[in-house]
Amino acid sequence: MNTDQHLNSGAMALGSLPDDEAVEFTDHLDSCPTCAAELTSFLETAATLGSSVAQTPPASLRRSVMEAVARTPQLPPLTDSTLGRHRQPNVATGTGPVWPVQEDAPDGPLAEVIPMRRPWYRRPQALLAAAVAVLVIGGGTTLVVANQSPSTPSVAACLASATDKATLVPNVGSGGTVTLTPSCDAAVVNMPNLPALPAGSVYQLWVLHGSDAKNATSAGVVDRKADGSVTAVTADVRAGSTAVGVSVEPASPVSVTPTTTPIWVVPLST
């Protein structure tokens, strides 16, 4: 298996591994420093291939880029205290959602992101957010945000090619993992099997920010199957997100912050 993975470095550097295989290969890199070094050298080689077809762009490009930059806020750096020491986003990344920055953001008061002229790659997230809103308002309805669902191609593609994944384990509850990919602003949440709840109660997934548990964003009602297993979901995270957790909440009305002590918490630091 590892031998097979080792052969993927060329295809990966050339951007020609399909998403699912890119994810596996990226996981493999954690345990194979020689593969990672080979990939790095191949990426430099690929960059030379790309540089060799340079062409003078139209002058209008410079103007429109500078105009757009003047209206576009920047992402804060990842910090050790929030997201752990992570590697650079693999370049192929980056279509993750942009968060309005909280008042405690390291870079100070960044405004909400002004939509870019052609935000085509953000639309899936916008639609997804709308779907979340609808489902949450609907109460009780289960929410499935399957990892790499076709509705989130950009996050899936980002996760597939990211090299900065960290697998994290809970400090409250047991079992399950969170695979944090800061460069994609995403965390893939694999919850353990959850016991059945009385009628009227649901499990709700949260992304916590800062140290106050009340400062949490709902990532939706957990889709618990009849056998207790839970579909993996992708939650949006950002610098400043400190944990992912699950609590028991009333099915209706839906909680906007956790109202009970979380039964499962995974800190987002390594």
């Binding site: 050339l14 790095t40 690929a46 960059a47 060799s52 077809v53 762009p57 800061p182 460069s183």
Partner: protein, 208 residues
Amino acid sequence: MSANTPQLRSLSAVPSLPSDRDPDVAAAAVPEDLLRRIALGDEKAFETLYDLFAGRVFGLARRIVRNPSQAEEVAQEVFLEIWRRASRFDPARGSATSWVMTLTHARSVDRVRSAQASSDRELKVAYASHEIEIDTVVDAVESAFERKAVQKCLGALTDLQRESITLAYYSGYTYREVAELLTTPLPTIKTRLRDGMIRLRDCLGVQA
């Protein structure tokens, strides 16, 4: 005050040339340094980086997406993403050039694939036109050296290595699509992509 006069004169003599830019920026035309400054919100550093990479970003996008106005759109997305994500660049993971070009490649391929999804493009038609495209895109002005070296080193590969790498990188195909186009088993294509890249890397003298 008189000590300052010559400097003031020299600055006003060349108001719009690059030498008039922030001397720190001008001195730091190393892409890694530029990215570090861009992460601090330095728009002048960003302009310098733009001038350094515009030809490469646009050229690669053009090569992959073909359509010039779409290539322009992709290039704009890439530069905005560089601006937004500069703080996430980690020099320990590779060069700034590699970061920028990999980002450019990924965004270009995204564009091609989303176009494919909507138009259900026939791979073999694209392949038929591929050989012609290789020689028509020769407008490069910035990278004569790289172009020569790449041509020489691609020429030193076996046919299968060269075709596989070219289809994967410049046409944005997955290795599975490449295998289909070249009617070659999947493991063979994977292997040729890797050993071809090893030969290219060594030929181009790229340091890891």
